[in-house]
Symmetry: C2
Subunit: 351 residues, 2 copies
DNA sequence: TGTTAGCAGTCTATCCTTTAGAGTGCTAAC
DNA sequence: GTTAGCACTCTAAAGGATAGACTGCTAACA
């Protein structure tokens, strides 16, 4: 589709633009890249590339800016070339940076995101793991000092929730144990998504015996609390680190642009939507500009990778920035990061 | 110190400036506030006020801007007048907005902060509760599917931590129960701060019997994990909500100023320091500008209130913004908020 | 036919100048 | 003690001129 020279010109423009954030002129290319042709020739090529939708001009006598289409071509090329992975990535050690025994997955990932943002100077995002396929392994009620009862909900992957139930009268330790066992038996083994639907539909406890069960009322009033916790667990949360890095990009030196990007980032639903609408099978996934997706903000890209424990529960972690991202570096960094993070998670959280 | 008319002029200027963010001139005051004197008289008063350090001029022919000293006077006056509390505060219902049964304190406070930031259009900050006075009520080891062991650490106030211990060989449920009891007994009743010191100094388990205890090694390897969790619990964390609200203030329309404020806010240690260096006994506490405190940023104020469960564990929640804060409104809002939040917390978390 | 030098034309960003307006401080009168 | 009025100060905004970074085109060249 594009002959080799056109590709070289295009990539040169993209590299320049990623570096400088300024529209790139034909002379810049002929001086800085050794293409063996004059600026006039490059001008002609650029004109063709513009016609084919790979380049844009902010105004008639300005240099060219790569289009979404150009970045897509460029990025796909980068993703294809396996060689990149070893090429540029500096060394880092996720395990040392982030893992202190005793963290839960979310703490761990938040630290990893912090690390990623400091390391790359971009803003990092983490979508919390989705636990909808997990199952409850154990439920334990523990008496607090007053009327409170601590409900410990343990998932098969070690994730835990600890809601508190406020009882109306003191319940004995023994009773709580019995109830723990009953509830555990009732809810064990069902995956959270199904369990959520079940409880949401007002599921209530029915004992075998055809007479009123002495704990039934209590158990039924604990179910909604467990429902809340499950809702938490199957709801994806989004965290950010390094928001101020946004200000490092010249495209956001205009306060209005910075503001709208920040608002966009704070609007977690939109970003979750963008992430959800993208195939997540790849090693590293890149959303460029408004590709396929409605977003109130143009000109941003998101590059993500998956993290998982075992191979079921996973979330996503990545970086957000202007469309003019340093894709080459970030792809390498994220590939490396992805490998390290999954090793660390398997070590820390999987069984 | 200041006669009544001077005070009136000063407050008029402060009110104007809080409202407009523009230097205030004598004519503005004489037109908008019914002081019964001409602008020339006000000019004279303003000149005096400047001499006494209550007002500043950005340049010779501009209007006046209130100084730190002026805000302090104004704010102290507001804090003294009890009447303010009922005057302006709109209605809100923290309990409905934030409490879903099953939240833990930190989730709850994060929601409360979100609410506060949306309600006021300022950026809210929450310092997590300090648990150094809490004691461990119960420790329970729960087996996971593989070699993992979930450690449930329950504090007397219902706060829970759930670190995971990766064991080298499978431990039976019964053994875990025995160990749970031993560890519980060992650590129960000591407040976290002391416990932290104890464990940090390499405390290890010594059984009464003068022979090697069969669980000693295991227990000693679990202590450091508990230590990590305790460290988490006595470390104060800081959260923010509504960062983009910063952009609503005209003083931060300059990108450099916005950037430096954001960096400052992201630098949690500095803010924690500011909060720590302030007496926190008052209902509502206000730090104006650089009062008493080193900070790389001038011209910001922080207004906070305490939250607590029972009367021991507490953290702080508040709002951060330009020195030109809407103190009157915010004081009212925070007083009200403080009342509501503590009621809600007592209901949800205290026993 | 593809490449190149060179030049006219385009558009912006920047710098300088001018101007309007907001505000002070002083003076003289009440 | 208060006030009107005026000269003076300073900024922020608007307008105008200029430099410079490009492109696109044409004509010459290999």
């Amino acid at each position: 589709m594009l002959d080799e020279r056109k590709l070289k010109v295009l990539y040169a423009i993209i590299d320049s633009y990623i570096d400088s954030a300024e529209p790139v002129g034909s002379r810049t290319i002929s001086k800085n890249f050794n293409l063996g042709v004059s600026s006039a020739t490059i001008r002609n090529e650029m004109s063709d590339l513009e016609e084919q939708g790979y380049l844009n001009k902010p105004y008639s006598s300005a240099g060219r800016i790569p289009s979404e289409k150009a970045y897509r071509l460029y990025v796909d090329e980068l993703l294809k070339s396996q060689a990149t992975i070893e090429k540029k990535s500096k060394d880092f050690d996720i395990k040392n940076m982030t893992s202190k025994e005793g963290y839960d997955i979310e703490d761990f990932m938040q630290n990893a995101a912090k690390f990623l943002s400091v390391f790359t100077n971009y803003t990092s995002i983490v979508a919390s793991p989705k636990f909808q396929d997990s199952i409850i392994k154990h439920i334990q009620l523990i008496p607090l000092e007053g009327l409170g009862v601590l409900i410990v909900i343990v998932l098969n992957n070690g994730m835990v929730k600890n809601p508190i139930y406020k009882s109306t009268k003191k319940i004995s330790s023994n009773d709580l144990n019995t109830i723990s066992n009953i509830i555990s038996e009732e809810l064990k083994g069902i995956n959270l998504e199904e369990l959520f639907i079940k409880l949401e539909n007002g599921y209530s406890y029915k004992d075998d015996k055809k007479e009123p069960h002495k704990y039934k009322e209590l158990i039924d009033s604990i179910f909604p609390i467990i429902l809340n916790s499950i809702e938490d667990l199957i709801t994806i949360e989004l965290y950010f680190e390094g928001l101020t890095n946004i200000f490092n990009f010249p495209e956001y030196k205009d306060i209005e642009k910075a503001k709208s990007l920040m608002s966009f980032i704070e609007n977690k639903d939109l970003i979750l939507n963008m992430l959800a609408n993208t195939s997540s099978n790849e090693d590293v996934n890149i959303i460029i500009g408004n590709e396929n997706i409605y977003s109130p903000i143009k000109d941003i890209s998101i590059i993500t990778t998956n993290y998982k424990t075992g191979d079921k529960i996973f979330g996503r972690v990545g970086l957000i920035g202007p469309m003019r991202m340093d894709y080459e570096n970030l792809i390498n960094t994220l590939k490396r990061f992805s490998k390290d993070i999954n090793e660390a998670m398997n070590f820390l959280f999987d069984e």
